[in-house]
């Protein structure tokens, strides 16, 4: 976990963050502190947290906490790290060419990639869209396989 970013452990904390952040993109990272990919992502999030502070807020969620399992089930988080975006309490979806539009799975290649994604979400949200297109080229988007229940 980064010391700069807030870590949320209870459902109430998550609720407050999502509800009370007005006109800013809320970036919630679901993951574990022990995973290496998580750490990579955390590093990028921590470095860019200040830069996007005017239009974005970053928080980390530990999926090992009991309170959080509700959200884990709700967002169907199976691969970590997963990042979910909100804007004014609306869940923002992003089409990055992968199967799952509701979240971003994996880390980012560069800090600038992350900032671009947040900016795209912000612009779309300000226009009133609930799903936006990903501005990154496909080679920068981490690929993953979704596991289905009966594979």
């Amino acid at each position: 976990m980064s010391c700069v970013l807030k870590t949320l452990t209870t459902k109430k904390e998550i609720d407050t963050v999502i509800r009370d952040t007005i006109d800013k993109v809320v970036v919630l990272r679901f993951g574990r502190a022990t995973d290496s990919v998580c750490l990579q992502l955390d590093d990028i999030l921590a470095k860019s947290a200040r830069e996007i502070s005017k239009f974005g807020a970053v928080a980390l969620v530990d999926i090992d906490a009991e309170d959080i399992q509700v959200y884990v089930k709700y967002f169907d988080i199976t691969l970590i790290p997963s990042t979910v975006f909100f804007f004014n309490a609306h869940h923002m979806k992003m089409d990055s060419g992968t199967a799952d539009h509701t979240k971003w799975v994996g880390a980012f290649h560069r800090k600038q990639d992350f900032i671009d994604v947040v900016e795209a979400i912000f612009r779309g949200a300000m226009k009133g869209k609930l799903i936006v297109n990903c501005p990154l080229p496909p080679e920068r988007i981490p690929k993953y396989q979704l596991l289905y229940k009966d594979v």
Partner: protein
């Protein structure tokens, strides 16, 4: 304090030959009579041989009295004689004022005696004056060396720093001086003695003033130190006078006006007087010294004003002010706060700055829609347009080449392209010779009228019509060409 002038004037009134009187200036108050001759004396008759002609201070009554009082007061130690009387009436205060003036006089006197010694000793050891600058040190060294030619027999330890002793010994071995005659030697020795006595007297006077400074002006001496406080008071002419001086002038009290003609003033420090000698000033880094000096002057003026009205006899105001000054100077020396990276601005929050003007317009013209394209975009009502592949396939031509117009191609109007591009285009299109465009054909196929004959010369005259002047035209052709 033109003691030098005074001494010269005094010399005018007396004869040149005076005996060297033996005198003492300690506790016994001896009145020396001055031989004042009524007769005139030439300045040329000034007998430089005699010390007394140039150095009179120690014989004056004033000097002797003051020294006497100082001795007594120092012996008495700290005394609380004054009891709330008005400062000016206090006899000790008067003594201090006198002491201030006297110390300045003594300084001048020492300079005079130093000149005297130097002139006399030049015959023996001329280089010494450039090696040892300080007058008192010089006097001590001269006294020690005496008439000795071999400096290895002379021990200068403790009088000078060892590096200088070495230089002096080396120079002495190669000096061009000769030993002095006895009487000159004796006079020089006495002059040295006198210089050293004056120096010790000055020290005594200053010590006395400093010790009393704590009583007279406790707050002021808490800030600048008693020596500087005494000097300031002396120059100002009293504590109440000092209190009346505005701070900017206090800063300049004791300013040495050094207008060294021809020497560089780049290194000289401006606008600092006695305050330069304060501990606070000496301990600030050179970059902050000017600011510190101004601050010091301001606060010390405040302290002087407090003292002159005896508002705070304990000196706590002075100490508080000193603490304030110290804190301020420390604050100036703090490094600036570390720069933090700026967060990015909110996207689309700042409207884009649109530019305008002639340059932009010219740039936009290059991509503007041409007349040809405009015609191709429009259609006439009821008239089917032609297309590139025929029969409605391909790109439509719109009103280009419709019946009623003489031309299949629209002639180019005077374009607003830059002259360079236009010229290039002209060369490509028109070729170097010929008055007409090589692309025009005489025949135009139109659906209504069949074959139309076009007059290839028709648009050649177009340019001559209307208000368009052909003189400055970029694509203008010759108006009349002789066919050969």
């Amino acid at each position: 304090m033109a003691t030098l002038a005074d001494s010269f004037l005094a010399d005018l009134d007396e004869l040149s030959d005076n005996e060297d009187d033996h005198f003492e200036e300690d506790a016994d108050a001896e009145n020396m009579d001055e031989d004042i001759d009524a007769g005139m004396a030439d300045i040329e008759a000034l007998n430089y041989d005699d010390l007394d002609n140039v150095s009179k201070l120690q014989k004056t009554q004033r000097y002797i009295d003051i020294i006497q009082k100082v001795e007594d007061a120092l012996k008495k130690g700290t005394d609380t004689s004054y009891q709330g009387t008005i400062l000016e009436n206090d006899p000790e205060y008067q003594l201090i004022v006198d002491c201030n003036a006297l110390s300045v006089d003594i300084e001048n006197e020492i300079v005079i005696i130093h000149n005297f010694i130097r002139d006399k000793y030049r015959l023996k050891f001329p280089e010494l004056e450039s090696l040892v600058h300080h007058p008192i040190d010089y006097a001590r060294v001269v006294k020690k060396i005496g008439n000795e030619m071999d400096l290895t027999l002379v021990d200068l330890e403790g009088l000078l720093p060892s590096a200088i002793i070495m230089v002096v010994s080396v120079t002495a071995s190669t000096t061009s001086g000769k030993p002095l005659p006895d009487d000159v030697l004796q006079k020089t020795a006495e002059a040295c003695d006198r210089a050293l006595d004056l120096d010790s007297a000055k020290k005594k006077v200053l010590d006395f003033v400093e010790s009393r400074m704590g009583y007279i002006a406790p707050n002021l001496s808490a800030i600048v130190g008693s020596a500087v406080a005494a000097k300031l008071m002396g120059t100002a002419g009293g504590l109440s006078a000092l209190a009346k001086i505005p701070a900017c002038n206090v800063q300049l009290l004791g300013n040495k006006k050094r207008n060294l003609a021809g020497f560089s003033t780049a290194t000289s420090q401006f606008r600092v007087g006695y305050l330069e000698q304060t501990e606070i000033f000496q301990s600030t880094p050179p970059a902050l010294r000017m600011r510190a000096c101004r601050l010091l002057a301001a606060k010390s003026t405040l302290a002087a004003r407090v003292d002159s009205t005896r508002g705070d006899p304990s000196g706590s105001t002075g100490r508080a002010l000193r603490e304030e000054i110290r804190k301020k100077i420390e604050k100036w020396q703090e490094p600036p706060p570390a720069k933090q990276p700026k967060p990015l601005p909110v996207p689309d929050s700042e409207p884009k700055k649109k530019r305008g003007g002639r340059r932009l317009r010219k740039m936009k013209e290059r991509y503007a829609i041409t007349d040809m394209r405009k015609l191709a975009n429009r259609m006439q009502f009821g008239v089917p347009e032609e297309s590139s592949l025929g029969d409605g396939l391909g790109e439509g031509y719109g009103m280009l080449g419709q019946a009623g117009s003489n031309k299949l191609r629209v002639s180019r109007v005077q374009s607003k392209l830059s002259a360079k591009v236009a010229k290039k285009f002209k060369e490509k299109a028109f070729g170097s010779s010929g008055a007409t465009s090589g692309l025009t054909s005489s025949l135009a196929f139109t659906p209504v009228q069949g074959i139309e004959l076009t007059n290839p010369q028709a648009h050649a005259h177009q340019l001559g019509s209307g208000t368009q002047s052909t003189y400055f035209s970029e694509i203008g052709t010759f108006s009349k060409i002789k066919r050969t």
